[in-house]
């Protein structure tokens, strides 16, 4: 176990707090974008929650997923808590997947976001339009759901870059002790 000096601990605390503040500023900014205008918009909060979950601890990811989900519910006029539950599950899953199986690479993030956002969009369409059998309901899937999904995947590129930038400067790097380094090389 590596013993950290009090200065290192102070820097670590400062970086962590600043990082989370910036994450939440981004979240609120995305929410503001999602609630403005009448045109079709990407569900910005979804790729953002996923990007934050990668590389952060489980609890942080779960809380961020829940918070972003609630904001999506408000912005999209959905049952309060519906997207919160979905995103909590997705964020925890993705945090675990990237911790255990996947490398933190852009391509992994992109396909994961594409899959998750498609599931979210499809569930949204099914529960809010599909099962009610409205006349010409498939038009909503074609003209709204699919477009929103595509916009979301495209927007995820920029979101990833922003989160990556924050992480680059404020994510504490893992320091290895001499023993750990020796173990790793062996």
């Amino acid at each position: 176990m590596r013993i950290r000096t009090s200065r290192e601990r102070r820097i670590l605390r400062f970086k962590t707090v600043t990082r989370w503040i910036l994450y939440y500023v981004l979240i609120l900014f995305s929410f503001a974008l999602m609630t403005s205008g009448t045109f079709l918009k990407p569900v910005l909060l979804l790729p953002l929650a996923l990007a934050i979950s990668i590389g952060n601890d489980l609890m942080g990811s779960a809380f961020t997923g829940a918070f972003c989900g609630m904001l999506i519910d408000i912005a999209c006029g959905r049952l309060f808590g519906y997207n919160a539950v979905l995103l909590t599950i997705f964020c925890v899953g993705i945090s675990l997947a990237f911790d255990l199986y996947l490398r933190s690479r852009f391509i992994n993030y992109l396909w994961v976001t594409a899959v998750v956002s498609y599931i979210q969009c499809w569930l949204d369409y099914t529960f809010y339009y599909g099962i009610w059998n409205y006349e010409d309901v498939e038009l909503i899937y074609r003209n709204t759901t699919l477009k929103v999904w595509v916009y979301t995947v495209i927007s995820s590129v920029f979101i990833y870059l922003l989160v990556k930038l924050i992480n680059h400067f404020l994510m504490p790097r893992a320091h290895l002790t001499i023993e750990e380094a020796i173990k790793t090389t062996n």
């Binding site: 999602m34 609630t35 009448t38 079709l40 918009k41 006029g77 409205y134 006349e135 038009l139 709204t144």
Partner: protein, 291 residues
């Protein structure tokens, strides 16, 4: 001196001066028009004068800027400040004008329908993201006596109904939604009843659909459909939209029509919530579920 006065030089000079005086007197008689010689000189020298004048003005201007830069800077700052104050006044004036227009509309509605209880006009906070039926949130909630299922309208016509009410905001479902049915009657015939209910197809064009209309109806293009007031949810006789296109349902049992709402539902900024009116049916769940 005497020699000079007698000399040819003096005579030539005197003759020249006399010639000039003559020209002067002749010029006086021209009544404002220059002599042909002067015109010729002016024409020839015009480009030179233009260039020299431009150069002189530039030099003067530079000199002036250098000399009075402090004064100009101060004047500029004062003018900027003045513009800022005027812009602020203008913004306040615009806001006041909009408010006045809304209140005027409110007075018109109240004059036409004295039984309506309408709190202050409500601002549209924003449209629900990616909703094909354009539901939106307004800045009035139960703190302003707004309850679920209150009709929402503009001075032009009915817009929708409140479905989810918070303390200071409410979610409005529009007449473009298939989840909202409004019983209507044709204003001109006062006999042709139908139901306005949104469809996916018509909502994409910002319109809604009138269905369950009798095949023997006398409704024609351009007719205004008004609320019939049968349901107790909407006040009687409030305009909803005009008939854009008539048709027959697929089953052939009733007629239908494409309805263009009286106000453009996709671009609303201010609406009115009618909290009470004659014939309103109170829904028990609207009151009991208050937080």
């Amino acid at each position: 001196m005497r020699e000079f006065l007698k000399s040819t030089r003096f005579k030539v000079l005197a003759a020249f001066i006399a010639f000039l005086v003559g020209i002067m007197i002749y010029a006086l008689t021209k009544g404002g028009y220059s002599l042909s010689g002067v015109s010729f000189i002016n024409t020839i020298t015009k480009p030179f004068r233009f260039v020299s004048n431009s150069v002189a003005m530039k030099v003067e201007s530079i000199g002036d800027k250098l000399q009075n830069s402090d004064d100009y800077y101060e004047e500029n700052q004062q003018l900027k400040k003045q513009i800022g104050e005027l812009n602020k006044q203008l913004a306040g004036y615009d806001e006041m004008k909009t408010e006045l227009e809304q209140l005027r509309k409110l007075v018109v509605i109240k004059d036409e329908h004295p039984d309506y209880v309408i709190p202050q006009p409500a601002e549209v906070l924003g449209y629900t993201a990616n909703d094909p039926f354009h539901s939106f949130t307004i800045d009035r909630g139960y703190a302003d006596d707004v309850k679920p299922y209150c009709p929402v309208a503009t001075a032009e016509g009915l817009v929708g109904i409140t479905i989810e009410v918070s303390e200071h905001s409410s979610l409005v479902r529009t007449i473009l939604s298939p989840d909202l049915s409004v019983a209507v009657v044709c204003a001109s015939t006062n006999a042709d009843f139908g139901i306005i209910e949104g469809t996916v197809l018509s909502a994409a064009n910002g319109n809604t659909k009138l269905s369950h209309l009798s095949l023997s109806n006398k409704v024609k293009k351009g007719d205004i459909m008004v609320t019939s007031g049968n349901s107790g949810l909407f006040p009687k006789g409030y305009a909803v939209g005009s008939v854009k296109e008539m048709g027959v349902e697929v089953n052939g049992l009733s007629a239908c029509a494409e309805i263009e709402p009286c106000s453009d539902i996709t671009r609303l900024s201010t609406v009115f919530v009618i909290t009470d009116f004659n014939g309103k049916e109170e829904r028990a769940d609207a009151d009991t579920n208050l937080p």
